[in-house]
């Protein structure tokens, strides 16, 4: 069984013919060749496959393709603009928020979602917002610092604009 699923990915309309229960994660990686989204646990615990679907953070390993039909998706490939890193990415790079890199795409998108909701997050809000994203390298402190720095830069930019 195969169905047509239409998506807007990182601003571009796409259409794929896929089994309706195929995981959105696999649609992204196999059908659309967007391999920035990673698979960790495959059961919604680790957040490596997190993407934004209609602006909400979701684990793409738990979304059947059909339920994404018509959705607007943002993956890690869509976070930078015109070849320039997003401030969140830049902060993760500069503050050592990324090591092996498997959790990083999910961390960046979870941070994106967090800062949309709380532009000036408390440490508690950061920890809760990223509680669904596991990292086995950093020990999290550098990730939290990266998020705090990104919040500062975004706030400064907002004030300048």
């Amino acid at each position: 069984m195969s169905v047509k699923v239409q998506l807007t990915i990182n601003g571009e309309p796409k259409s794929v013919d896929v089994p309706p229960m195929k995981r959105l994660l696999d649609v992204l990686r196999e059908d659309l060749h967007l391999t920035g989204t990673k698979e960790g646990c495959g059961e919604g615990e680790c957040g490596a496959c997190a993407v934004l679907m209609n602006g909400e953070l979701v684990n793409s390993c738990l979304v059947p393709a059909l339920q994404a039909n018509g959705a607007r998706l943002c993956t890690i490939e869509g976070v930078s603009t015109e070849g320039r890193l997003h401030p969140i990415q830049q902060c993760f790079l500069e503050r050592g928020g990324a090591q092996c890199g498997i959790c990083t795409p999910g961390m960046i998108l979870a941070t994106h979602h967090l800062l949309d909701k709380y532009p000036n997050p408390t440490m508690e809000q950061i920890q809760e917002g990223l509680a669904g994203n596991l990292c086995r390298c950093t020990g999290y402190m550098r990730i939290f610092e990266s998020v705090q720095e990104a919040a500062k830069i975004q706030e400064a930019k907002g004030q300048a604009a």
Binding site: G44, E56, L62, V63, P64, E128, A131, G132, N133
Partner: protein, 291 residues
Amino acid sequence: MRSDVTEFELVAPTSLDAVLNTLANEAGRHVLIAGGTELMVALGVGRLASKSLLSINHLPELRFISVEENAIVIGSGTTFTDIRHDRTIAEELPLMTQSASWTGSVANQNRGTLGGNICNASPAADTPPVLLSYGATVTLISAGGQRTLPYSDFHLGYKKTALKSDELLHSIRVPRTFSGYRQYIRKVGTRNAQAISKVAIAALAKLDGDTIRDLRIGAASLAEMPVRCKATEAALIGKSITGDTLEALVRTARAAIAKEARPIDDIRSTAKYRAAVAANLVEEFLRSLVG
């Protein structure tokens, strides 16, 4: 082993009526899928038994929070994020907000639904103890009509519910009668973030001076399904709770919950540990009522 996704059918009927008609015409053939936070995990490990699924998470008819004069009614398709953001729920049913906030991570709360949490019928689920203590009722609908029953009659055994094959959980109604109650909830898991409970207790008490007029305890992972601890409640209702009576009351409560609880050994904990922690939580609740 991962399932072969090409073997599975999934359709998204355009309306609730269409879903109900499909359930009526092909009873028992389909499994409903809302946010997918349980069933997609089962798919991933090759344990999704049904090959035919009906998607319901796009139906606005099931996603609502309606504040009525005497009750707050929550549609089964309401997400944990929706529940967390609702101010009336936060003010009047704080245990609901709290349990929604520790059901999985933010990403799972954005997808997972209250109805899914209930119908998946895990004895460890986060919201059932709360709904049991609040005395919620559930409305089940089918093409033939609807019926309402106390939520305490919904769970029949391990992963067994009162839902018939042509029925769907429409909504959950919680009475707005708890403003004068002391409210308590605690979940004990491996870590704070998105752990599955080893044990959880939600409890409410109404005091009249020093007298316990009403007391309700809902529990997760103390039996094969979410349960109200009626015997423990009965042992405490009507009693006087003061600094002088507290220690005796704590002993009574610990003995009652130890007798009533039917926990099991599994990968997350042992029956012995669960029983001990349940007694500790009930004790903590009672102590919170004094002073």
